[in-house]
């Protein structure tokens, strides 16, 4: 078996999700190559070469790949990937955008968001917002897969010394272009990688009140998340959303503040090791998954918690 892992990166550095995807590749078994497609992405390629267990790093360094436009990167993945038995990418917004497009070019039905490897052709994945786990077997020659990062440990980012090889083919479809981006800037850890996450819901009432959560986050080294209700209400930006269609998190500690616990939210956080819920409604479904529930007015409990940490 031979596996191609698509690296997630911002040209300058490798994103952590790549390491979890390498671990998923290792549990399939076989030679693992990593493709780094980008523009001026030498540093990311060097980082990929250091991942423990990687055989070879392929670098496609071209302006057309700079912003990970699916129209350009998918044909590259299809072209290189057809020599492999498996093509894996993290189930991030980048991976979800590109991989199905690459799969269709190969006439393959992809498998999204796997949480375990049962064998080389059989995988488990959540469906119905995580209320059901399906075991799925692929009959396609090439398996095209996205990997849920929280379900696999990170491979060691150091210790490897893979050969780095340049790939010359350039695909520029000319039908799409990058216009701009507004990326959240924060000194706090990334939501999907944080050991502690504190999230606010509709109960927070407005964006200013999230300040209370930021203060606690800074004391705990935590990332701050939100429920869909809080994002829809405009309290906080979309990149903070935890849930079925937002980010999937599984930290050591998840603190849900003023979140009722719709199944779509639970889908994004119920694999956390310890869950704390603070909500004034004792019937809130979030208490059914919480290890420690505190029925209280968050506007009293949260400042008190801040004071006691």
């Amino acid at each position: 078996m031979s596996i191609l892992v698509i690296a997630e990166h911002d040209n300058a550095s490798l994103k952590g999700a790549t390491l979890n995807t390498v671990t998923a590749a290792q549990s399939i078994g076989g030679d693992i190559d990593v493709l780094v497609a980008g523009a001026g992405c030498g540093a990311a390629a060097e980082a990929a070469a250091k991942i423990s267990g990687v055989n070879k790093v392929l670098v496609a360094d071209n302006a057309a790949y700079g912003h990970q436009l699916a129209e350009n990167v998918a044909p590259l993945i299809a072209e290189i990937g057809k020599a492999y038995t498996h093509i894996l990418a993290p189930a991030t917004t980048t991976g979800k955008n590109i991989m199905p497009r690459a799969a269709a070019l190969l006439d393959v039905q992809p498998i999204s968001d796997i949480i375990s490897v049962e064998s080389a052709d059989t995988f488990k994945r959540p469906v119905y917002a995580g209320n059901v786990i399906a075991t799925v077997q692929s009959a396609d020659v090439t398996k095209v897969i996205t990997v849920r990062g929280t379900a696999f440990d990170a491979a060691a980012g150091e210790g490897g010394s893979a050969a780095v090889e340049a790939v010359d083919t350039a695909h520029d479809s000319g039908v799409s272009s990058f216009v701009g981006e507004e990326l959240a800037k924060s000194d706090r850890p990334e939501l999907t990688a944080a050991k502690v996450v504190i999230s606010g819901g509709r109960g927070m009432q407005n964006g200013e009140n999230f300040e209370m959560l930021y203060k606690i986050a800074d004391k705990l080294g935590a990332a701050v998340g939100a429920s869909r209700a809080a994002v829809d209400a405009g309290f906080v930006p979309n990149d903070m959303q935890v849930g079925q269609t937002g980010k999937i998190v599984a930290p050591e500690l998840y603190i849900a503040v003023g979140i009722s616990g719709a199944i779509q939210h639970l889908a994004g956080m119920k694999d956390s090791k310890v869950i704390v819920a603070i909500n004034k409604d004792e019937e809130a479904p979030i208490f059914q998954v919480a290890d420690y529930g505190l029925v209280a007015d968050l506007f009293e409990a949260v400042p008190e918690l801040d004071g006691k940490l």
């Binding site: 393959v108 209320n131 075991t135 799409s176 272009s177 990058f178 208490f287 529930g293």
Partner: protein, 249 residues
């Protein structure tokens, strides 16, 4: 400008689905079915484009058994002009749906295809991107804003780091995220009117598509259940438990 909108019939988002006792499939006998929420947003976006004078005709397509007519009629009541039902009782996987849509794109030549980013049953998030590959059209996935001007569509996308805007030449494919719009409710007169709007019936065979599944579901099971926790009486007890019992802070 003609807009093609794809809608999927799924278990209503309020229904909590469970596996059957034998683990062969999910138990969806007699549960409420609806338009997939993301597809409803796609219909709404198309209707708004028509209200703005950008779109001239909205064609709604759904695939699956006879009952998908209900979802097509709902979309027609919301403002779509006519429907296409790709009728089959076969299991349709995203690749097969993308192939059928690709055949319809070739036939109808829409300037814009709008569809949901994922369905809340399979949670695959694949079909729009695969249609992009098969048709060669550009894709704006996970859209939170769509602006059509000068033969192009600017799509603002919800990505992990925040928001990204791309410009796509038309024709193009857009998949919707939650915050693109808030769908309206159909009014009774519109529901009555929708009954008279035309719906064409075709089969995957008519479209020349082999829908044979590529993956097989071997088993479905409930996820690992969490142990029921405890209620703490106050913040002091919570902090004490987190420090000394759970040892997470």
């Amino acid at each position: 400008m003609k807009v093609l909108v794809a809608v999927k019939r799924v278990v209503d988002y309020n229904v909590k689905v469970r596996p059957k006792a034998d683990g062969s499939d999910v138990d969806i006998a007699n549960v409420k079915m609806s338009i997939n929420p993301f597809c409803e947003i796609a219909v709404e976006e198309a209707v708004r484009l028509k209200e703005k004078g950008v779109a001239s005709e909205i064609v709604v397509v759904s695939m699956g058994p006879k009952q998908c007519q209900e979802q097509i009629r709902t979309a027609l009541a919301l403002g779509a002009d006519r429907g296409i039902h790709v009728e089959t009782d076969a299991e349709l996987q995203p690749l097969a749906v993308a192939k059928c849509l690709n055949a319809l794109v070739a036939k109808e030549s829409p300037e814009l295809v709008i569809m949901g980013k994922q369905s809340i049953d399979g949670d695959n998030n694949q079909t729009g991107q695969m249609l992009g590959a098969l048709s060669g059209l550009p894709q704006g996935t996970f859209a939170s804003e769509v602006n059509v001007a000068d033969g192009k569509v600017a799509v603002t996308r919800e990505v992990d780091g925040g928001l990204q805007t791309v410009s796509l030449s038309l024709p193009a494919i857009v998949t919707t995220d939650l915050r693109l719009n808030e769908p309206r409710y159909a009014k009774l007169p519109d529901i009555m009117k929708a009954k008279r709007k035309p719906v064409e019936n075709v089969s995957p065979e008519d479209l020349g598509v082999d829908v044979a599944p590529r993956t097989k579901t071997l088993k479905v099971e409930p996820p690992a259940q969490r142990q029921a926790g405890i209620k703490v009486s106050d913040v002091s007890e919570l902090v004490e438990k987190l420090k000394n019992e759970a040892k997470v802070i």
